[in-house]
């Protein structure tokens, strides 16, 4: 069984972490300010992404995983993979 979706999800999470670090470094006072898209906003999106990944089993092993769930539907698997790759690129561009 492939682990493409898990790897792609992990990639998104890493991009989120990098974005949080960069945001915190660039604007350390963002939490005190009323900036809409500050560090805390990115952290919240990262938490939402983690909740999604946990619910759907993106990081799960074996039969509980998202890869296992989509094993019979190649088109959906492909769409999800592209979506996650695009999201990782999108977060990367957000820096």
């Amino acid at each position: 069984m492939s682990h493409e979706l898990r790897i792609a999800t992990q990639g998104c999470l890493e991009q989120f972490k990098l974005l949080i670090e960069i945001s915190a470094e660039l604007d350390p006072a963002s939490e005190d300010s009323n900036g809409t898209y500050g560090t805390s906003w990115i952290e919240e999106q990262c938490v939402r992404f983690k909740i999604w990944a946990g619910n759907i089993g993106a990081f799960a092993e074996g039969h509980a995983s998202l890869d296992y769930r989509l094993r019979d539907s190649l088109s959906t698997h492909e769409f999800m993979l592209h979506f996650l790759v695009a999201l990782a690129d999108f977060i990367h561009r957000g820096k």
Partner: protein, 371 residues
């Protein structure tokens, strides 16, 4: 490739300014005509830098294929999935807690200059919408409906304690009961009723089995244990050799780690993700830009518009490398007082204090006010 050209032109400019030697003969002339060692080294480092940047610029992420793929999933302004959205649809982009406001998709899709699109404020809302779509997509994939559970339940194989299949025998038993209770009823009604009893029984057993798996009960091990229960005691003692634990003996883990620091052990779920059948999903419903429906953890905040305000970190003594957190009373490195770390310190302090039960009413009030 544009970045390659940029670096090449930069390299050309710096080289010609430094040595005024034609570009075409750079390495050869630099070596043959006795150019100074410093200039040669500079050129070599520039050349190495150019090659490195050229390799980086040609990495797979920036290939035309990848860009096309991303563009197919992203909208005109780079937001993921906006390409397939009806422009006339209006939506609330996100909850007010996250500071975004209601605006129409038409506004979102308005073509803008590349300079404006490059602003993080223009790109970051796309992340939120993408995560919204992931949630909708997961709902579509999982199909958490009672009807889908019932379909799976009807395929459930009932077994007795010895592992024998009971489907046929239970169906016959149900039919006998129905025939006995309603001897005058029409045949098709009796068949329908007995079939309904069997299906209902299967659903009940399926859900019971599923709940056990969700709580991490190893059903296979339980089955084996049941098998052993009916075996002879002599066989069990011969096969299973368990180490007896001394009364006051502690395991190395228990001695090394204090109780509070040990994570709570949980059994992993033994459920298996239901396979998505190879059918066409309504992807358009996933990509619809509807109101961001977030959990109450994000939306049920006391303040609906202002972001969460945290108490400010204490001012450390100048020159000191540590400071005492006024909430958890721990000595923390000075870097924890920075804004990026302070949020984590505060939330962690609250968790520790609330668990230990030592949160005084006044501090609890402070935390409740701020968090």
């Amino acid at each position: 490739m544009s970045s390659c050209c940029t670096f090449l032109s930069l390299w050309q400019i710096s080289y010609t300014e430094a040595s005024e030697i034609p570009l075409t003969d750079i390495p050869y002339q630099a070596m043959c005509f006795g150019a100074s060692k410093r200039i040669r080294l500079r050129h070599l480092s520039l050349l190495a830098n150019f090659i490195f940047q050229a390799i980086v610029s040609l990495r797979p992420e920036d290939t035309s294929e990848t860009l096309e793929r991303i563009d197919s999933l992203t909208g005109p302004n780079g937001s993921i999935g906006d390409a397939s959205i009806d422009d006339s649809t209006s939506s609330a982009v996100s909850s007010s807690f996250q500071g975004s406001e209601t605006k129409s998709v038409q506004d979102e899709l308005t073509p803008e200059t590349s300079a404006e699109n490059s602003l993080p404020e223009k790109r970051l809302p796309g992340i939120e919408r993408a995560i919204d779509r992931l949630f909708r997509f997961s709902l579509l994939i999982r199909q958490p409906s009672r009807s889908s559970q019932n379909v799976k339940a009807e395929r459930f194989i009932m077994k007795d304690e010895d592992g024998n299949e009971l489907n046929e025998s239970f169906a016959g038993f149900a039919r006998q009961i129905v025939d006995h209770c309603y001897p005058d009823a029409p045949e098709f009604l009796r068949a329908k009723l007995s079939n309904g009893i069997v299906i209902r029984r299967k659903r009940f057993l399926y859900r019971e089995h599923h709940q056990k798996k969700l709580f991490g009960v190893d059903t296979l091990r339980e089955d084996m244990r049941q098998d052993l229960k009916y075996g002879t005691e002599i066989e069990e003692t011969d096969i299973t050799v368990r180490a007896s634990k001394a009364a006051n003996e502690l395991s190395p883990v228990e001695t090394l780690a204090p109780k509070l620091l040990r994570p709570k052990e949980t059994n992993p779920s033994h459920t298996s993700a239901s396979a998505l059948q190879n059918q066409s999903l309504l992807i358009d419903t996933v990509l619809e830009d509807t109101k961001s429906n977030q959990t109450t953890a994000f939306t049920a905040t006391p303040s609906s518009s202002a972001p969460i305000e945290l108490p400010r970190p204490p001012k450390p003594v100048p020159g000191s490398k540590e400071f005492e957190c006024p909430y958890c009373c721990l000595m923390l490195p000075i870097k924890e007082s920075r804004a990026s770390h302070w949020r984590y310190v505060i939330t962690n302090s609250m968790r520790l204090l609330s668990r230990a039960g030592s949160l005084s009413p006044s501090r609890l009030e402070v935390f409740c006010t701020y968090l």
